[in-house]
C-alpha cells in the first residue's frame, strides 16, 4: 500500500490540519521538529533508552493457552501493553512527545485525557523530564476515574475538570485545544491518540508502531509465521494503528478494529465512529465522525472512558475505505463479560478499553481454525476500572454465570 500521510498530512480524503491560524505556526514547528528527530540517531537512542529502562519494553507476546482452550478457537496471543510503566500503551507516545517538547525548547505541556491513562502517562513523563503539566479531563471521567485523577496530582500535574457537554473526552479535547491556543508560545500539546490535526496522527502512529514491530518479530519467533489475524480496540485509534501499521502490507494478515458499541448500535448510545459515523471535521482532522444531519457532533457513549469519543484517527478512516481493516463494535455488556473471561482464564484483568478487543476474540473464534494465530493488543490493565466494573455489576450486570 502507499505510504501515508502525504506531505500535507492527508490520508486519501482524510486527515489534514483544520486548526485556527493561531495554532498553525506551532503545528508547522512540530512537524519540522518531528522530521528532524526521526533522522537524529541521538534522539532515537534516547527513545530506546527510556523505552527499555523506564517503560519496561519490550512487552511480552504471551500465549493465552487457557483463553484459547476456553474459546475453542485459534491460538490467541496477548501483546502485553498492560505491563508498560503506568499500565497502558499510552506512555510509548508520551515519552516520545515529551522528548520532542524538550527539543523544541518548550517547558510546559498540556494534554486531554479520557480514562486518565493518557493523563497519567503525560504527568509521568513530565515528572521524569521536569516539564510543567496541565491535564484537561471531562467531569464525568473525573468521577469514574477518580483514582487516576489523584495519580496525576501525585505526579505533580494540575488536573482541570471540564463541565461542558457530557463531560467526557471530546469536551476535554476542546478545552485542551483552547488552552493550547492561548499558551501556544511556550506550551506543547501532547495529543493522546492518533487523531487531531496533522502531524499528530503520524507522530502518535510512529511512536506507537513499536507495538506492531515487536509483535511481528515475536510472533515469528514463537510460531514461525505471521498471525492470521490481529485485533485491537479503537478509541481515537492509537494502540490499534500502532499494532496494525507494521502489518498493513502483509495482506494475509486480517486486521480488526473494535469500537465501543455502548448500549448497542441501534440504541444510538455508542462510540462507533467508523461503524456508524460519516466523514466530518472535528479536532483538526477530517475523518469518520458521529454527527447528526446538521453536522453537529453527537455525544458518544461507552462504559469505557478511553473509547468514549465521537471521532477517530484519519488513518483508520483511510484503512476502512481501502478495505484493509474491518471495523466492528462490541457492547458495554460484552466488554464486561470479556473482563471476567480474561480475569478468570488467565489471571489478567484487562482495561475496559482492551476488553473490547478481547471480547471480539469470542466472535472470531468460531470462524478461525485451531492452528491459526490471533494476536490481541491488550492495550492496558484494568486496575483503573475496578470501581466501574463493580458498579456495573452491582447495578445489574451479573458477573457470575
Amino acid at each position: 500500500m502507499a505510504t501515508y500521510p502525504t506531505e500535507t498530512g492527508h490520508y486519501g480524503d482524510f486527515g489534514g490540519r483544520f486548526v485556527p491560524e493561531t495554532l498553525m505556526p506551532a503545528i508547522l514547528e512540530l512537524e519540522k521538529a518531528f522530521k528532524e528527530a526521526k533522522e537524529d540517531e541521538g534522539f532515537q537512542e534516547e527513545m530506546r533508552y527510556y523505552l527499555k529502562q523506564y517503560v519496561g519494553r519490550e512487552t511480552p507476546l504471551y500465549y493465552a493457552e487457557r483463553l484459547s482452550k476456553h474459546l475453542d478457537g485459534p491460538r490467541i496471543y496477548l501483546k502485553r501493553e498492560d505491563l508498560n510503566h503506568t499500565g497502558a500503551h499510552k506512555i510509548n507516545n508520551t515519552i516520545g512527545q515529551a522528548l520532542l517538547t524538550q527539543r523544541m525548547g518548550k517547558k510546559k505541556v498540556v494534554a486531554e485525557t479520557g480514562a486518565g491513562q493518557h493523563g497519567v502517562a503525560t504527568a509521568t513523563v513530565s515528572a521524569l523530564l521536569g516539564l510543567e503539566c496541565i491535564i484537561f479531563m471531562g467531569k464525568e471521567d473525573v468521577r469514574r476515574q477518580a483514582l487516576n485523577v489523584y495519580r496525576m496530582e501525585l505526579l505533580g500535574a494540575q488536573v482541570v475538570s471540564v463541565d461542558q457537554g457530557n463531560g467526557t473526552l471530546k469536551d476535554a479535547v476542546n478545552e485542551a485545544m483552547r488552552y493550547w491556543t492561548a499558551n501556544v508560545e511556550d506550551t506543547h500539546y501532547i495529543f493522546g491518540t492518533a487523531a487531531g490535526p496533522h502531524p499528530f496522527p503520524q507522530i502518535v502512529r510512529d511512536f506507537q508502531r513499536i507495538i506492531g514491530d515487536e509483535t511481528r518479530k515475536q510472533v515469528i519467533e514463537a510460531e514461525g509465521k505471521l498471525p492470521e489475524a490481529v485485533v485491537a480496540c479503537v478509541g481515537g485509534g492509537s494502540n490499534a494503528i500502532g499494532m496494525f501499521y507494521p502489518f498493513v502490507d502483509d495482506l494475509d494478515v486480517k486486521m480488526y478494529g473494535v469500537e465501543a458499541g455502548g448500549k448497542g448500535l441501534l440504541s444510538g448510545m455508542h462510540a462507533a465512529s467508523l461503524t456508524e459515523g460519516k466523514a466530518g471535521i472535528l479536532h483538526g482532522s477530517l475523518s469518520y465522525l458521529l454527527q447528526n444531519e446538521d453536522g453537529q457532533v453527537q455525544e458518544p457513549h461507552s462504559i469505557s472512558a478511553g473509547l468514549d469519543y465521537p471521532g477517530v484517527g484519519p488513518e483508520h478512516s483511510y484503512l476502512k475505505d481501502a478495505g484493509r481493516v474491518t471495523y466492528d463494535a462490541i457492547t458495554d455488556e460484552e466488554a464486561l463479560e470479556a473482563v471476567r473471561m480474561l480475569s478468570r482464564t488467565e489471571g489478567i484483568i484487562p482495561a475496559l478499553e482492551s476488553a473490547h478487543a478481547v471480547a471480539y476474540c469470542k466472535k472470531l473464534a468460531p470462524v478461525m481454525n485451531k492452528e491459526d494465530v490471533l494476536v490481541v493488543c491488550l492495550s492496558g490493565r484494568g486496575d483503573k476500572d475496578v470501581n466501574t466494573i463493580r458498579e456495573a455489576h452491582e447495578t445489574g450486570g451479573d458477573l457470575h454465570d
Binding site: 490540519r17 485556527p20 491560524e21 498553525m24 505556526p25 471530546k170 483552547r178 471535521i281 446538521d294
Partner: protein, 259 residues
C-alpha cells in the same frame, strides 16, 4: 452582488472618515424568529456589517460566552437551513451585509457547494471559518468564488511574516486580525505591540483590516480603531443581547464614531 455589498459598506464608512463596526450575534440565540429583528436593530444602531454565528457543537476557537450562546441556539433547534431560510426572507430590503461565521463541519455536512449556493440565495456576503487555515482552503474556495461569497481570512498574533503576507494577499471582504492569543471572549487589555501589529497589517493588506477577539469596551473600540479600519465585537454583544440590554449594544456601536 453579494461580495460587492461588503466592499461597498466598508468604502462608504471610509469615505466619511469613520471606522467600521461589525457586531457578532449567534443565530438562533433568543429564538430564530427574532433574528431579522436583531439584524435590523444592529443596522439601525450603525453597524457596518453583521457577523452571524451558526452554532456548532464543538467551537474550539470560542470562549465561554459564545460557547454558551451556541448551546442555547442548538437547544432551541437551530439548523443551518433554518437560519438561511430566515435570513433569505428579508434579503431584498436589507441594506446591511451579512457575513457568516461558523466551523467547517456544519458546512461540510450541508455540502460545500450547496451551502455556497444557499448563501448566495439568502444574500450572504462572506464567510469566516476559524478552523480553516490557508493549507486547507482548497475545500471551499472554488464554491465560494462561484457564488460570490467572500472568504475572510484570519491572521493571528502568532502568524509568521510569510503567512501574514499570504493571508493579506488572499483575504476578501476584510482581513480579520485576531487581537489575542486565544479564544473569543472579553479581555481587560491587549498586548503592547497590538498597535504596531495592526498598522503593519494595514500596510500590506488590500482589504480593510478589522481587529477582533476580546474587544469589549468603548475604550477598546477607540484604541484599536486608531490602528486599523475598525473592529469586530462578539462576546460583549452576545452577552448584552442575552441580558436584553440593547442600550449597551447601541452605545458600543456608537463608540465607533468617536474613534
Amino acid at each position: 452582488m453579494t461580495k460587492a455589498k461588503l466592499d461597498t459598506a466598508f468604502q462608504t464608512v471610509e469615505k466619511v472618515g469613520e471606522k467600521a463596526f461589525v457586531p457578532y450575534i449567534m443565530a438562533g440565540d433568543g429564538g430564530l424568529e427574532n433574528l431579522n429583528e436583531s439584524i435590523r436593530f444592529l443596522a439601525e444602531s450603525g453597524a457596518t456589517a453583521i457577523e452571524l454565528g451558526l452554532p456548532f457543537s464543538d467551537p474550539v476557537a470560542d470562549g465561554p460566552t459564545i460557547q454558551a450562546a451556541g448551546i442555547r441556539a442548538l437547544e432551541a433547534g437551530t439548523t443551518v437551513q433554518a437560519v438561511l431560510d430566515e435570513v433569505a426572507k428579508e434579503k431584498d430590503n436589507r441594506m446591511i451585509p451579512l457575513v457568516i461565521m461558523t466551523y467547517l463541519n456544519p458546512i461540510f455536512a450541508y455540502g460545500v457547494e450547496a451551502f455556497a449556493q444557499s448563501c448566495e440565495a439568502a444574500g450572504i456576503s462572506g464567510l469566516i471559518l476559524p478552523d480553516l487555515p490557508l493549507e486547507e482552503e482548497g475545500l471551499v474556495v472554488k464554491a465560494l468564488k462561484k457564488h460570490n461569497i467572500a472568504l475572510i481570512r484570519l491572521v493571528a498574533l502568532t502568524s509568521t511574516q510569510e503567512r501574514i503576507q499570504a493571508l493579506a494577499e488572499r483575504s476578501e471582504g476584510f482581513l480579520y486580525a485576531v487581537t489575542v492569543a486565544g479564544t473569543t471572549g472579553e479581555r481587560a487589555s491587549f498586548v503592547n505591540q497590538i498597535g504596531a501589529h495592526l498598522q503593519a497589517l494595514k500596510e500590506i493588506s488590500k482589504a480593510p483590516v478589522l481587529a477582533g477577539f476580546g474587544v469589549s469596551t468603548p475604550e477598546h473600540v477607540k484604541e484599536l480603531s486608531q490602528y486599523c479600519d475598525g473592529v469586530v465585537v462578539g462576546s460583549k454583544i452576545v452577552d448584552a443581547l442575552n441580558r436584553g440590554d440593547k442600550q449597551q449594544v447601541a452605545d458600543l456601536i456608537a463608540s465607533r464614531k468617536e474613534a
